[in-house]
Structure formats: C-alpha cells, structure tokens
C-alpha cells in the first residue's frame, strides 16, 4: 500500500490489541447517516513512473519562455548550493521548532536570517517570515494600527503606485477590522508619489505605506515622505525589494528617523518563480514595536549549562498562547523559503548582492535605451528606475505581448492590469540573468512585432 507500511499480520495483531474486528469498527462513532464508503469520483492512483511522465509533460508545456516580467516576482540566478542544502530532509521535513532542543538547526538558521534581514533593511528586528509580500504588508498595516498610539482613527495612506495585487490583498485582509484605506496619489509624469502632499493633522493618519521601488520600477524620494509622515505622527511602512536594498538607501536610513516597519517579498533572495509560490514575506521593525510584531521570533539564550542556544521567543504575541488577543492568526509560515534565502544571502554576501542589483539595473537600462530608440516606443515615466520600467507602445501592450510570445519571449506585463488607461503600457523587468544576446533577441522580436502590428490592422488594436 503506497506509503503505508502495514502488513496483513500487523493489522491483525493491532486490531486484536485494540479489541475490534476490523478497521471499519474504528469509525463506529461517526453517525451512520454521515458515513460515505469511498471516494470513487477521484481517479485511481498512478505509479511514480506514470506520474513522472505526466508531470514532465505538464512542466514542459509551461516552459521555454524568456521571461521579462517582474511585477513582484523576479528571476535571479539561484546558486545550486541553495536548494541542495535547503532540500536536506532535516530542513525539509521538520515541523515548526516547538521543541527547541531538537530544532537548533532551524532555530539558529532563523536567528541568522533575522540578523541579515534586519541589517539589510537597516532596522533592529526581523521576524522569521510571513506568507508573502502582499500579506506581510497587510500584517504591517494591522501592526501599525496597534503600534501607533497617537492615531485617532485606524486610517492608512497607501501609495497609489503600489502593486495593485498588494492593494487588493490589504483590502481583503484588513477591512474586516474597520481600517480605513486611502490613496496617496502618484504623479503621472514621474510615476512617483506627488511631491505636493495632502494636508493632514497630527493623528489623522496611523501610517503611510511607501513602495521602493514602486510598481513601475521607479525610485521614490523616500526621505521627504518619511519625514512628512513622522511630522504628522504617522508611522512609515516601507514595502521594498530586498535585492534593491543592496543598492538603494535602506529604510532604516530614510529621512530623519527611518521607516518604522519594513516589509516585502523575499522571493528575489534565492526563491524560484514557481508560478507564484511558495515565496515568503519579511517584516522588520524598530525594537520599540517588537511586541506588536506578527509572526515568529527567534531569540538567542543559554541552556542550563550556560551554553548558547536558540528558541522561539515572545510567544505571548502569538495565537497558540494568546489566542483571541494575538498579534496575528499566523501559525505555519514560510520556513523553508527563509532557509533558502538565508543560504542565498550567505553565499552572495553584501557585495554579491550589490553586484546582482547593479547588474540587473545595468541590463534593464540597456534594454530601456534600445527600446526607446524604436519608433513609437517611449518611456512612460521619467523617474530613475530599478531593474523595471514602463514603456508606452504604439499598440496595446496585450497585442505586443501576444505577438512576441511566438518567439518564446514573455515581453512584460500588460499594465491594463493596473488601470484601463495604461493599456498601451508594458512593465518590463530585466535582471542579471539576461545576457546581451537575450536583450538583443528581445529588441529584434519587438521590432518585428511592431512592424507587423502597426502596418496591419490587428484585431486587438
């Protein structure tokens, strides 16, 4: 029996020890009218070999595109060591480290992760992960509402150039608690937040959410916004790309006092694209807010011999201790992805991470220049960008994407996802994984596509 080790003799002996005649007898407390006897609508099982054939065919069906989409999930080179070590049974098949003495491997690793991540963000504390970037932001919003004792109302100002899926996720996750979400508009020319900010009184706003870079890849003038928020007693929540933080100013250094909560998507740190997950959300903050943090925290302590060791700490914030009064309902988080990210950061080091950021930036600048040299293609926003930028096309983005798909190139994201009036805009990402040849192939494919699309009447356009 697949994955079940019992022999017929075992079953007999065990039933005898229990004192029943059949396995069926063990279900006798289930009321008869609720019983079913099979799951026949589900297909019969397959052998591992047959499944292998089937899944390989599926994987191939989805493979083969040169990916120039980012939009929250980024293709980076993942050193082989990362997952070969992460995949070791002792990491892969352990539970949450409740028995600290039997989980020092995971616990120490998480402590090292917390140290690196906090450092990367320029803040004092990091938790041990949340689900993903979008849900981490929702948790950050809830945390800010709890932490900001000056706010009169649970009102949050959210950058208008935030990833639309992040915005939707916050809506879904925080609305039930009566939190009010408002938008901080962005400038249509720069793509960055307006420099003229809304008039607010102290305590009107619990927190301001800023994305760096923003959804368009644009780099925000974060110092000014941070100081403005702090002046009005609002907390600053930064949503950042962790690779970008090797190059751009870290949130802890924004403005006079630094961002208060930093969160984002950890995927760029060694996690494969994998259709969208598992990734992990990170969340860092200042020590003063640590008791409002959601998620697990690992602390260094000593054992009864005085030797150093690690364990889950401040569990009184968590659901399994505090139940209805917990800082979040999160229980299982994204431990294994964090394991990979920790190994990734260790392998790359600070300078390697900066190299990844710089090379990505350089490659995207190269493509951007080449594209804007094509007739009818222009840069939609004029702010400096990090490894992602928006091109306005002479046709719909959708038509262009579908045309170059035939060349096995995924040209970018159709920004009508963000708003209907951006339907000619293509959000394009280039990381260190793309070679000069890849970039050239992209430009040539777009050139051919533009000729085709602009010379003929196309259905989509």
């Amino acid at each position: 029996m697949p994955f079940i080790p019992h022999t017929e003799d075992d079953v007999k002996t065990m039933l005898h020890a229990i004192g029943v005649n059949s396995i069926e007898d063990l279900f006798d407390e289930i009321p008869q009218d609720l019983r079913i006897n099979n799951l026949n609508p589900i297909a019969p099982g397959l052998t591992e070999m047959a499944m292998g054939r089937d899944m390989k065919a599926r994987a191939e069906r989805d493979a083969g595109l040169a990916c120039f989409v980012g939009a929250g999930a980024y293709e980076h080179h993942i050193p082989a060591a990362v997952w070969q070590i992460t995949g070791r049974g002792e990491f892969l098949t352990a539970y949450t480290p409740y028995q600290a003495e039997a989980s020092q491997g995971t616990l120490q690793l998480l402590y090292e992760y917390q140290s690196m991540m906090a450092n990367l963000m320029g803040l004092e504390v990091s938790n041990a992960s949340l689900y993903d970037g979008a849900s981490a932001l929702a948790e950050a919003v809830l945390m800010a509402v709890r932490a900001n004792t000056h706010a009169k109302e649970p009102r949050i100002l959210i950058a208008g150039n935030l990833h639309p899926h992040y915005r939707q996720t916050i809506e879904a996750l925080v609305r039930p608690q009566g939190i009010i979400l408002e938008t901080l508009p962005y400038n249509d020319t720069t793509g960055c937040l307006e420099t003229s900010r809304p008039k607010i009184d102290n305590g009107d706003i619990a927190a301001v959410v800023i994305a760096q870079p923003n959804f368009f890849g644009g780099i925000e003038e974060v110092d000014g916004i941070t100081d403005w928020a702090h002046q009005h007693l609002a907390l600053v929540i930064a949503v950042v790309n962790p690779i970008a933080m090797a190059l751009l100013k870290e949130p802890g250094a924004w403005g006079e006092r630094g961002a208060d909560i930093v969160c984002g998507e950890g995927q760029p740190l060694g996690i494969p694209l994998a259709s969208g997950g598992p990734y992990f959300g990170f969340l860092c903050t200042k020590m003063e807010y640590v008791r409002q943090m959601p998620g697990r925290l690992i602390g260094r302590t000593v054992d009864q011999n005085g030797n150093p060791g690690f364990s889950l700490t401040l569990q009184a914030r968590e659901q399994h201790i505090r139940r209805a009064k917990a800082t979040s309902n999160i229980c299982t988080n994204q431990g294994l992805a964090v394991t990979a990210a920790t190994i990734y950061m260790s392998l790359l080091g600070a300078s390697g991470l900066a190299d990844v950021a710089k090379a990505s930036h350089d490659h995207s600048s190269t493509l951007c220049k080449a594209l804007t040299a094509l007739p009818g293609m222009r840069l939609r926003f004029n702010s400096p960008c990090f490894h992602e930028f928006v091109i306005e096309c002479p046709c719909t983005a959708k038509a262009l994407i579908h045309t170059v798909l035939k060349d096995n190139i995924l040209a970018g994201l159709d920004l009508s996802l963000m708003s209907p009036e951006l339907d000619r805009c293509l959000l394009i990402c280039v990381t260190e994984t793309k070679t000069a040849q890849d970039i050239n192939a992209y430009v040539q494919a777009i050139k051919r596509a533009l000729q085709h699309l602009t010379s003929s009447l196309t259905v989509e356009d």
């Binding site: 407390e29 849900s135 039930p176 302590t301 399994h320 300078s351 995924l410």
Partner: protein, 488 residues
C-alpha cells in the same frame, strides 16, 4: 558558531555574483545606500558546511518518529518533491499568459476538484497560504455573506474551548467577538452551553471534527442544526481531515465552509515551519465569496477566475495565487494515491492511533478520554505523574528527545492538564509504534527510579534545556558585530 563568526573581510564567492556590475550612475546619490549591510563573508564550502551541520541539529520525519498531535507529520514522498521541482514549473512566472500556463493550471484545477469530492463541498479556492489564512478566508466569507444580506447584527463567533489558537485569533481578525463554548466530559461540545450561547448575534461557529481532543464530535448534526436555526454558519477547521478521508465529509455534516491543510493531510513537507497551504472549500451558499483567483475550465482550456468573474469575492489574499508549489505537490500526492489510497490514509492513521492508545492504556498511562475511540490522534495526561512524582509532561517530552523520538504535542489542547496529544499518522510502522511504547515505559520507570534524569533531560542533544525566560527578558534577536564570539 554563527555564520557571522566565520566571516572574514573581503571573502567572496565570485562565481555566484554576476561578472559585470557597473555602478548605477543614473540614480541620484542621496537615494543610494551608503554602508553595506553586515552579511557574512564566507566561502561556498563554509556555507555548505555550516548549513549542512546546522541541519543535522534538527529532528525531522526523515530521521525520527515525530508523533506531533494535530500536525500530521507523515512521510513526505520524495517523488512528489522531485516532480514539483521540475525546471519547467520552477521557472514559470506567475503572470505568464494562460496559453503558457496550462500545465500548472490543470494541476490546480484538478486539485480543486479532488478537494471538492473529499470535503463534500461544491467549490474550492486554493489561494490561502496556510491553515490560518484558510480560516481567515472562510470566516471572512461568512462575514461577507451576512453583510451581503444586510444582516449586520451578527457580531459573535462561537469557538469551543478545545479549539486551536488560530480559530479565535482568526475570528478576531475578521472583526468578530468570541464566545467560548465548553467541552463536556466525553470530549464533545457541551450542547446545552451551545444552545445557551447562540442567538441573533451569532455569525457562526468554528469547529474541528474530529476535535483537537482526538475524538469525533458525535452531535455534529445537532450542532449544525442549532447554528443554522439561528441563522449562523459553520466553519470547519480541516486540520484533522486526515482522520476522515473517505469516511465522512464536512459538507455532509452541515459545514458551510472549511480549509484543508495540504501540509498535513496531503503530505507536503513542513519545512521547519512552512510553507503550507490552506485551500478553502465552500458550499453553494458561500461559493460566490471565495477568495480569488481560482481556476476554471471550459473543457478545452484552463483559465483564471478573478475579481471580474467573482464580484462578491472577499478578494485577494496574496500577490499571486498562494503557495503554488505546495498546490502542485498536493495534486501529485493525491493522484499518486488515487481514491483507494486516499481512503486508506484515514483507515491506517486511525488504526495506528487506536493501537497506540490501547497499548499505552494497558501499560498504565492515563487516557484523557478512555471511553472514546481515538480518531487519528488521542490524548494522554501526566496529571497523576505530575502530582505523585513531580514529573511534568514537558519533562517526559524532553526525555523522549534523548531516545531519538520527537515529543508529541504538549500542553495542547489547554483543557487537559499535563497532556500529550499523540498523532502517529498512517506512514509509521507497527515496529516504530512499539518502539515508542517501550521508550515511554522506560521513561516512566526512570521517572520513578531516577527522576532527575527525566527532569534534567535532554542530555544527548546539541543543547541542554533552554532558558526561555531569559530569551524573552533579555531579547537577543539579531547578531551584532560587537558581541563576542564566545557568546555564540
């Protein structure tokens, strides 16, 4: 030794970073980082050795029996892991057009169907990223349902006292007040208390069945009727689904919505604390409120259903579609087992639990609910031992580690004092169970004859018992350069 403590300035793995990394001259200087983060500077060998050595300090299913109640620590098939890790899947961007996503979409769709059959509910959204997020989705759907009918008075959620901590925490996140319902002495919900608690404010109830007490809630139909009669809805916490696969279905019991922990019932690895996946299943009434995206099928192609298709949806719970790789794994696991294999899961999980329970009782251990069948798990209590010998459940748990067995869940559920919640799962052999029984008996003997051995346990692990109080009082959450190496 921390990885930071084997770091040396200027060390770098040149092959892992891109070669050409010109400075970013077009970004204004005031937006650039000034001081690099303090990361370890270590060689690839150092990284491999450090983390390989660290991994060896963990207990895991691959190395130990791990009967952690409520967690379903069963074998995570290696074939599943391998196939979900195929390059084609790993390199697939979540925003790829559906023309180039059919392999993944088909797998997701199939899993939706499988979960629908298993739960007896009509529609499934795979997007919640763990059980707790599934709970959020379900309770938020109940909230949305009431609001959609203009029924704004329903501000209370009922939760049995035996419930997992995520249940009350979730209901609060969804804006509800909690009413706790007591358990009767047989481990069932106290029906009188329940009847007394319901009313026009009742939005719904969250229930696990079999409950976290390891027993099947026999009055489930009555409970359902009680709640439905006052206009409330029922949420099923699917953490214990492993116990009933193919035997009965939450939909038939009267539940309106539920989550499934793929990382439990569907054998996806726990990863030292995740990732998991907590799909949410709903009946026709709640289906319109399911979180997006879900996957549709027109007989020809698979496609996404999003806000446009599902205007009443509670919305999006993550940037993309949840823990896609876990969904893939659950699909492969379920299709490997097929309908017969899935039914066997609950049978042998239940057989193992009842066998362990019977044998432990014979060996003199105290069962929390001696008159009940075990489901896939059961509870023993060391209340007696705590009183007579001063030995706590925690002591015994730590001593188990010395014998190379992970401890069961301790001190949960909270209403049974000094308890072990023991879940052997179907993938463990009789030999392994017998070994566990023998070890427990040995420890009990030790507790009598040399109690300090047990109270001071563990003795053979990388660390002795840890000072959790110090950890919480003198918070040390990150490494700083200034700390001396000897401290680590």
């Amino acid at each position: 030794m921390l990885i930071f403590e084997i770091s040396a300035k200027g060390r770098k793995n040149h092959l892992q970073a891109p070669r050409l990394a010109p400075e970013a001259k077009d970004i204004p200087a005031h937006l650039l980082r000034r001081t690099p983060p303090i990361f370890p500077e270590v060689s690839e060998l150092q990284v491999v050795r450090h983390y390989t050595q660290l991994s060896r300090k963990n207990f895991s299913i691959d190395t130990q029996f791990y009967p952690l109640g409520s967690c379903t620590m069963k074998y995570n098939p290696r074939g599943v892991h391998q196939l979900a890790s195929l390059e084609g899947f790993l390199q697939h961007h979540p925003l790829t057009p559906i023309s180039h996503s059919q392999g993944y979409l088909q797998s997701a769709y199939e899993l939706q169907e499988i979960l629908s059959h298993i739960t007896g509910l009509s529609a499934v959204s795979l997007t919640p990223m763990a059980g707790a997020q599934g709970e959020f989705a379900g309770v938020a759907m109940i909230r949305a349902y009431h609001l959609s009918r203009g029924d704004t008075a329903r501000t209370e959620f009922l939760v049995p006292d035996a419930a997992h901590g995520t249940n009350p925490a979730t209901a609060v996140m969804c804006g509800f007040r909690i009413k706790e319902i007591p358990t009767d002495k047989h481990g069932d919900v106290d029906l009188n208390a329940l009847r007394a608690a319901v009313g026009p404010h009742t939005a719904g109830i969250m229930l696990t069945n079999p409950s976290t007490l390891g027993v099947f809630e026999r009055h489930i139909s009555e409970i359902a009727k009680t709640i439905h009669d006052v206009g409330g809805l029922l949420y099923y916490d699917g953490a214990n689904l492993n116990a009933i696969l193919g035997k009965c279905r939450p939909g038939d019991m009267g539940f309106d919505v539920m989550h499934i922990n793929l990382h439990k019932t569907f054998a996806t690895p726990h990863g030292g604390g995740g990732p998991g996946s907590g799909p949410v299943a709903a009946n026709e009434r709640l289906k319109p409120f399911l979180p997006i995206p879900t996957v549709g099928y027109d007989g020809d192609h698979y496609y996404w259903l999003t806000e446009k298709d599902c205007p009443q949806s509670i919305g999006r719970l993550s940037a993309f579609m949840g823990n896609a790789g876990i969904i893939l794994r659950a699909n492969i696991y379920a299709r490997l087992l097929g309908h017969e294999g899935l039914c066997r899961v609950s049978e042998y999980a239940t057989l193992n639990a009842n066998y362990l329970m019977a044998r432990l009782q014979q060996a003199g251990f105290t069962l929390a609910f001696a008159d009940r069948r075990a489901s896939h798990e059961f509870i023993i209590t060391f209340k007696k031992e705590a009183k007579t010998m001063g030995i706590s459940a925690k002591d015994i748990a730590k001593r188990l580690l010395d014998y190379g067995v992970h401890a069961p869940t301790t001190y949960f559920p909270l209403l049974v004092p000094e308890c072990f919640l023991i879940e052997p799962t179907e993938t463990e052999s009789k030999e392994e169970l017998d070994n566990f029984i023998n070890i427990l008996m040995t420890i009990l003997k030790e507790a009598k004859e040399s109690p300090e051995l047990v109270k001071q346990a563990p003795h053979t692990l990388p660390v002795r018992r840890l000072d959790d109080l110090k950890a919480a009082r003198e918070l040390d959450l990150t490494w700083h350069k200034s700390k001396k190496p000897e401290e680590a």
